[in-house]
């Protein structure tokens, strides 16, 4: 576990040494400010419902930018060789990087609480759905980061990692909508696999264990595949 924390600390520092963290956080906050203002004007009600849906879509585009460098950069610069010949396990490395990216994600969405402050000053919002939405956002962040991390471990090109990451997340998002085109186990599976359906119940103020388990198990599975993929250099 100590190695996980060593790797975590380095990754966090590295985010803030490079412009990535600042650029991503600024872009995100500017965009979510627009979404908040726009939705507020349109719905004229003291809730985050519409804003968070837009923000959620925007996170889909930005999270792969956070995760793109995690493995791609190390493979490209060769530091993967010094890292993997140190006495650390593949799991330490993958998990440390995962936590670092997830932390940056959480740091990025935290300032949006200022919207909640505005809502309480000028209105009387229902806090239930707001809290549950943020729980949903964090769980979803775990999944998005796992997807990005896995893709980053496949390539040494950061741009490729980001683009494929964004495309994958969009597919994961829209695949749920396909379920409206039919019935039966196939469409039911699609509905379950898509992220949107699970996200929606959080925005309604419902923290359903089924949705929590969906996010946690899906993220765990992807992290497991990432560890295996990092390991695979040994049998390729």
């Amino acid at each position: 576990m100590r190695n996980v924390s060593t790797i975590y600390q380095r990754e966090i520092k590295s985010y803030f040494y490079s412009p990535i963290a600042y650029v991503v956080i600024s872009v995100f906050l500017i965009a979510s400010g627009f979404f908040f203002a726009g939705n507020l004007q349109f719905w004229q009600e003291a809730s985050l419902k519409g804003s968070l849906d837009s923000i959620q879509f925007f996170l889909l585009l930005l999270t792969p930018v956070i995760t793109m460098k995690l493995f791609a950069e190390e493979t490209k610069s060769g530091t993967i060789e010094t890292l993997m010949t140190s006495p650390v396990t593949d799991f330490d490395v993958v998990f440390g990087k995962f936590l670092a990216a997830l932390s940056l994600y959480i740091v990025m969405i935290l300032p949006t609480w200022i919207f909640v402050l505005f809502l309480t000053i000028f209105g009387n919002p229902d806090f239930g759905p707001i809290f549950s939405s943020y729980i949903g956002l964090i769980l979803m962040g775990g999944l998005f980061v796992s997807v990005g991390l896995l893709i980053s471990s496949f390539t040494k090109n950061q741009v490729v990692a980001a683009v494929i990451g964004i495309v994958s997340l969009i597919i994961l998002w829209v695949v749920g909508f396909l379920s409206t085109y039919g019935e039966g186990w196939f469409y039911e599976t699609l509905r379950y696999a898509g992220t949107f359906d699970h996200w929606e119940s959080f925005t309604k103020g419902i923290v359903d264990t089924r949705d929590v388990i969906y996010y946690l198990s899906f993220s765990t599975l992807l992290l497991f595949i990432t560890v295996r993929n990092v390991e695979s250099r040994k049998w390729r």
Binding site: R2, N3, T6, I7, Q9, R10, K13, S14, Y17, S18, S77, G78, T79, I80, E81, T82, L83, M84, T85, S86, P87, V88, T89, R233, K234, W235
Partner: protein, 318 residues
């Protein structure tokens, strides 16, 4: 300390390392020598647990590289070729990160870092960002990193490549000093380097070990005796004939050089031919302007061994 047995690493259609076996004893410095693509880096990557072998086994400090890889990695300091560093970190910060990863107890970290900064001579750049350092300094940061956990075994892949002559001297001296207390396996294709720092040389070509011995024995192995270079004034052909007649001379070649001729006399290996050569020249009244010994260098050994191999291979094919 390092035992390698029938190690093979196969890529899609070539054997990068082909059934090699060798041992490295404790506190021995062994130079791995070979042309580009001979399999030096692959061998090192297997020993450092970066990639596994296709067949065969290797143990480092008593631990198997495949089954006991964490213990192996704790025992070795590995400097990869091109010295990859995190270019956004400061030197001392990078070394602190590596010290933590290599499980150095909290209280000793600072002391170890200071020691390594000192021994590699990079104390004055310790607060600089590694990305701003020149190649030579990066190399030394890499070396400091390999030493940080005081490993028993150092595996250095071309540690002096791309350095300026002064830095090469410095790094060689550092390696030589380390060789007293550490087991060192280093790869290079700079021959004077192995001659200077290594106890034993292993020449590897196309994934196979073609020679392995001390530098002195390798020269003996080639059965060349004492060769002399002469500069004599007089008729070249005649001098050649009389020199060829001397006992213990295997061959004589000559070419014109200014107003005199230069002779290359190859001895057959038994005894010193210099006195006989001198007497022969004096007897015929030629003027001797220069006589010097010519010892065969590692370059020549290396060239002979690696080209001999290819000739044999092409003979087999024919």
């Amino acid at each position: 300390m390092i035992n390698v047995k029938n190690l093979t690493k196969r890529y899609v259609n070539i054997n990068a390392v082909d059934n090699i076996s060798f041992n490295v004893e404790e506190n021995e410095t062994v130079g791995l020598l070979g042309p580009n693509g001979a399999g030096k880096t692959t061998t090192m990557r297997i020993l450092t647990c970066f990639m596994p072998a296709t067949a065969g086994s290797a143990t480092v400090a008593g631990y198997d590289v495949f089954n006991d890889s964490l213990n192996v990695r704790q025992q070795i300091g590995y400097l990869p070729e091109n010295v990859p560093l995190y270019l956004d970190m400061r030197v001392n910060e990078y070394l602190m990160f590596r010290a933590k990863l290599k499980n150095i107890p909290r209280r000793e970290r600072k002391k170890r870092i200071d020691y390594c900064l000192d021994i590699t001579g990079i104390k004055d750049v310790q607060n600089q960002i590694t990305g701003t350092l020149s190649k030579g300094y990066r190399q030394r940061v890499g070396l400091a990193d390999t030493l940080i956990h005081d490993p028993k075994i150092l595996i250095l892949d071309e540690p002096t490549i791309g350095l300026d002559p002064n830095q090469i001297m410095l790094i060689r001296q550092v390696i030589k000093d380390l060789g007293q207390k550490h087991t060192v396996l280093l790869s290079t294709h700079i021959l004077p380097e192995v001659e200077m720092v290594c106890d034993r040389i292993m020449i590897i070509d196309k994934g196979k070990i073609v020679a392995m011995d001390t530098p002195a024995n390798l020269m003996k192995q080639l059965k060349t005796g004492l060769n002399v270079v002469l500069e004599i004034k007089g008729d070249g052909e005649k001098i050649k004939n009389s020199l060829s007649g001397i006992d213990g001379v295997r061959s004589v070649t000559w070419k014109e050089k200014g107003d005199a001729n230069e002779f290359y006399v190859e001895g057959s290996g038994e005894g010193d031919i210099r006195e006989a050569v001198f007497k022969c020249i004096v007897k015929d009244n030629y003027i001797l302007r220069e006589m010097k010994r010519h010892t065969i260098t590692l370059e020549e050994i290396f060239h002979q061994i690696t080209t001999k191999e290819t000739e044999e291979v092409s003979d087999d094919n024919a």
